[in-house]
Amino acid sequence: MGLLDGKKALITGARKGIGRGIALTLANEGADVGVNDIVDDETSRRAAELISKRGVKGTFHAGDVSSVAGINAVIDSFLEEHGQIDILVNNAIFPDQSRPLFDTDEVYWDRMMDLSLKGYFFGSQRAAKEMIAQDSGGRIVCLASVHAYVAIENWTAYGTAKAALRRMVKGLAVDLSGHNITANCIAPGAISNKLPEGYDDVIDGPPHDSAWLEARIPAAKGGLPSDIANAVLYLTSDLGQYVNGETILVDGGMIASKKMTD
């Protein structure tokens, strides 16, 4: 028996990294999980396969969640497989997350806002509609970031979108009052892309610079996707049922530390 037995969860951007970590952690606790990603390849299907191996239902739903039509298609596909939606984790983001201020053109800005703000909003709106129709309550979790709190060079567009998500979940909490739906953010700090054993590592990009981390994070180590996944597990399980409109930082104390912006 797990903390999420029988729940149906959709995780966007879950082909690898933090998204895959969340998908497999929720599956470990008994949830049926739909993996979404814009990339449809063997790795994506492997994520769904790893979920099924845990004795729950794992499905893959390819799609771009940066438009309303795209989100609706993904949620339709999820509902077709799972019948209902109890948990939505908005996690999708493209790899090119930081850009210098004067290189940030309209195309980049729109891409950032479409995926990580508009996409998260309309995904939440659609999921909430389904949850209300099901009369089952539900949980919406958005991935924010430490960049929602402080400015680090070249992260303005990303940080702006992430800061807006902190306010967005408060609005969802208030507007969804009476429907037993909670909406919250998890704000990761520096997270390595190393997945635990059994999650089938898919590492692309360089690992974090450990000297940089040690100088800035009291926990003196980078976080793992499983740290973020565990916070999502808390919010989506009964343990977190009264947390609403909140953003939980999972950063090893990075933001609390004065060294952050050195």
């Binding site: 028996m1 797990g2 903390l3 606790e29 979940v169 408060k170 609005g171 909490a173 208030v174 969804l176 009052s177 009476g178 037993n180 909670t182 700090g189 994070i217 009291p218 926990a219 003196a220 976080g223 793992l224 740290d227 565990n230 916070a231 597990l233 808390y234 009964d238 343990l239 977190g240 049922q241 009264y242 947390v243 609403n244 409109g245 909140e246 939980i248 930082l249 999972v250 950063d251 090893g252 104390g253 933001i255 609390a256 530390s257 004065k258």
Partner: protein
Amino acid sequence: MTTTKLLEGKKALITGSRRGIGAGIARLFAEHGADVGINDVVRDTEADKTMASIESLGQKTSWHQADVGKTEDRTRLLDEFVASHGRIDILVNNAVASADIHFTKITEEFWDNLVGHALKGYLFLAQGAVNRMIEHGHGGRIINISSVHSYRAWPHDTVYGIVKAGLNRMVMSMAQDLAGTGITANCVAPGYIDSRVLTEEEEPERGSADNLGSALSFIPSGRGGVPRDIAGACVFLASDLGDYVNGQTITVDGGLLSGGVPPDSQPLEPGQPGAME
């Protein structure tokens, strides 16, 4: 009850745990496999009930009468707990007693008493626990119970709000100074929590919307919080699930702070204790 036990074998001391939120934390910790020390200023039938419920879950419990506002009591409390359990893995600073008082009526005595208990008391109990955790060498967890009053002002809550805001800031420094020890320090900030003493028959009514009155319209989750909600956040922070959460305050308020609506409580009427003249 879950079969996923998140605190198996942990030794936890929870202050102010004879009833209310503290007792709720103690019970959920025990459900998750922790042995729990119960502390309060007096032992009564509520304390006995709390301890019996922990024993019925198959966990060890110990009683520690102490006033965390007193230096000698704090030291004795930690010594007693360690003597009983062998070590301390988790400290939850929860004990507090306060009263509404208008700003103009705050006396030095009132200030010294509340700050002495709920800010100074928490700091030095945490320091004592941390020193014992470092000595033992296996890390640990410090959790302070803060409040939504740390973020927003309600009528007549000046000193209480200051103390709670101080706790949020305290854990940030602890995260910084305890780097490398494997100890994390965090706060949980409850909103409106129905912590009344109820009979077993009345227990299902706990947190129900019927008892909320005007407060209900300010709580998006549509019910009052219950001690178990605060306990859930403490289990998260105290377990491996919360390993990378450090120096942080988690608000558990059913969305109370999300709205921009005014606070729900009414100022004291003239003539009531603590009211402005």
